[in-house]
Amino acid sequence: MAEVTRTYKVGQHPDLPPPRSEVGVIGWVKYNLLSTPFNVIMTLLALWFLWSIIPPLFEWAVLDSVWTAESRKACWAKMEVPEGAACWAFIKDRIGLYIYGFYPAELRWRVNLSFVLLVLAIVSVLYENMPGRKFGLWYAVAFPFITGWLLVGGLGLTHVETDQFGGIMLTFIIGITGISFSLPIGILLALGRRSTLPVIRILCVLIIEFIRGVPLIALLFIASTMLNYFLPPGTAFDLLLRVLIMVTLFQSAYIAEVIRGGLQGIPNGQYEAADSLGLTYAKSHLLIILPQALKISIPGIVNTFIGLFKDTTLVLIIGMLDPLGVGRASLADAVWAGLAREVYIFVAIFFFICCFGMSRYSLWLEKRLSTEN
């Protein structure tokens, strides 16, 4: 066939496709991996690094690992090279401990039920277009109290001592209590810090800066050693409750700062508009200011919560058994001792999944909130 030749007017010629070496896989590699000599070296180094890390790790953790055994020795006997691979049988053997701590085995359905209720509460808070969301929110407010009753017992349920709580369950108890009670306290502190009344402002600044200035572990020590001195003689109460109070206080100070940031992001016109409508302080804040301020501080609140969730591991220092504490305690068992890597990696993966999930959620929220405005 004869080639069709066309003539174009000046400036009417359609764009030619880019050269093949600049698009597609080749173009991508050229641009992203090999653009300069320095970049080529970096790419090679990175490849070498990955090659020397990933395959051995994969072999250790998956291919050669042992999933069923009765003891460390039995585990190692199953491997080609003793100690050459992961022994996940250790984790499987103790998985109940990691989830429930020492919660009585026949009552564990109560913990399971609490986890289900927790999922329901989270769903009803996070999904905005769920049918009956109003009831869902009330349920979320009531949730800590319902599960508190379910886990501790009383009123018809068998009582369980809180020193038997442990594992992932304990992490969730501390985390959820911390976030649900610190939010209202944090809002009050943030409002107080922005108050025009000097006494209230100074008081709130003192509380916030004191708590933010000291490490959580010092507060936990106070909870475990000297909180009872502050109470009337004879009132001794539960260590878990004392820890929860301290964690809530600690968290409130950080939440307060996040919400203060949100409040500062509200333009003055909003306050003035509320005032000109004749709204009182309470009404203008509840109806106009806080809904907007809370909305823009949600990502910050989630990030603070991630920090708190990770900080729950600190309770192991005052002798409570969170997943890390359970892992450390189980390492003392002579039958399994020496499998520290497996324990730490398992606990690390648990925290990574939870925290990474939450941070993704907060990023997603941030994006969504920013496009709406």
Binding site: Y31, N32, L33, S35, N39, M42, T43, A46, L47, F49, L50, T196, L197, P198, V199, I200, L203, F210, R212, G213, V214, P215, L216, I217, A218, F221, I222, T225, M226, N228, Y229, F230, L231, P232, P233, I306, K310, D311, T313, L314, L316, I317, L324, R328, G338, A340, R341, Y344, V347, A348, F351, F352, C355, F356, S359
Partner: protein, 399 residues
């Protein structure tokens, strides 16, 4: 016509009237708050007094002067034996806290800036690798990092006899990292003085050079002159005094090393774990800070004919620093506070000495916790004070 006072709104009830007056209301609220706070404090104080009386304890800091009777294996700055006082143990603890916090801040800053810049790399592979490391590290509790690292050092490294040997003078074993220790002869102070003088000179020289540049536009090679003066003067002093420096090299004697500087496994684990954990947060801060400087600034600098280095130095970094400093300060505070996790692996910081063993031995919960809290509050105040000063210095000056 006489108006009945009861029909006029606002004069109905003097209490309502008072409440509707904004000034009066704020005074009332504040008085009530102060009363409640002081009542609470008084109640707590009374409880404390009653409780202490009930178990026969008294509130005093006299225990600080009695012998501590416990060992602290890591006290690089001051002499400490088990016969020293609790006060000395407290000072050792505070110094150890400051040491690990300062070292952590330095390493975390270096690693954080490096990773933050790598995260901006156009190389997709490098970028993604750093991203994976960052995400994994910062979503795992720092306590776990500390315990894991400590576990690796203590159980996976060889005992001193089969220690990893670097050039016969650095030894890495499960008892710690042994490095050569510089030993100064008495005359060494002259070098320190010369060094300080040259630093002071450089400080004034830089101010002068900046003034000259502002007034006349003449640019001196400030960096090279400064570096030359400091290194040159110190080197001259070093050789003029006859190289008054020798090294104490660690040597294997029996079951452990003698001589040299011993860096204990607890310190290494805490320092490294705190550093790489915090550096992940710093990396994100640095990245955000650099991205916050719009590309137009770089282009404008290019249009003015500045070189690439001058652009970075004069345009990009000063603007990025302004965004970076406030969150960086809170990361420094976090390192300091997280160093209290030392107690989990037995590094003797202030929580482990005063808040741990001294508390156990003397039963003085109040007094010891007050010391611990005050220590952290003072450190926090100093760091945030410094950062506020720095922030003010670098903040945008608007006309």
């Amino acid at each position: 016509m006489a108006v009945n006072s009861e029909t006029v709104p606002g004069t109905r009830n003097s209490l309502t009237r008072l409440w509707n007056n904004q000034q009066a209301r704020s005074v009332i609220i504040q008085i009530v708050t102060v009363t409640i706070v002081f009542a609470l404090l008084a109640l707590i104080l009374r409880n404390v007094v009653n409780n202490l009386e009930a178990i026969g304890k008294e509130f005093s800091f006299k225990f600080l002067l009695s012998p501590a009777a416990y060992d602290i294996t890591f006290s690089p700055f001051i002499e400490y034996t088990s016969r020293s006082t609790h006060l000395r143990a407290a000072v050792v603890g505070i110094l150890n806290t400051l040491l690990v916090a300062a070292c952590g801040i330095v390493l975390a800053t270096v690693m954080g800036f490096l990773m933050g810049i790598l995260r901006l790399s156009r190389n997709w592979l490098v970028n993604r690798m750093v991203y994976c490391f960052l995400e994994f590290t910062r979503n795992v509790p720092v306590l776990l990092h500390i315990l894991f690292l400590h576990g690796i050092i203590v159980t996976q490294l060889n005992p001193p006899r089969q220690a990893m040997n670097f050039a016969d003078s650095f030894f890495l074993s499960n008892r710690g990292f042994y490095i050569p220790q510089p030993v100064w002869e008495p005359i060494g102070w002259i070098i320190a003085v010369v060094f300080l003088i040259s630093v002071t000179f450089v400080f004034f020289f830089r101010r002068w050079a900046k003034k000259v540049q502002d007034e006349t536009g003449r640019v001196y090679p400030v960096f090279w002159i400064s570096a030359g003066v400091i290194v040159g003067a110190t080197a001259v002093a070093f050789f003029a005094t006859g190289t008054p420096l020798s090294w104490s090299i660690p040597e294997l004697r029996g079951f452990n090393f003698k001589g040299g500087l011993a860096i204990k496994p607890e310190f290494i684990a805490l320092w490294l774990a705190l550093s790489y954990y915090t550096s992940c947060f710093i990396a994100e801060i640095v990245r955000a800070g650099i991205l916050a400087v719009s590309y137009g600034q770089t282009e404008a600098a290019g249009a003015l004919g500045l070189t690439r280095n001058r652009t970075l130095q004069l345009i990009v970094i000063p603007q990025a620093i302004r965004v970076i400093v406030p969150p960086l300060a809170s990361q420094y505070l976090n390192i300091t506070k997280n160093s209290s996790l030392a107690i989990a692996i037995g590094y003797m910081d202030v929580v482990a000495t005063v808040g741990g063993i001294t508390l156990m031995q003397t039963g003085k919960e109040m007094e010891t916790m007050i010391i611990v809290l005050l220590t952290y509050l003072v450190i926090s105040l100093v760091i945030s004070g410094f950062m506020n000063w720095f922030n003010k210095k670098t903040a945008l000056v608007e006309r």
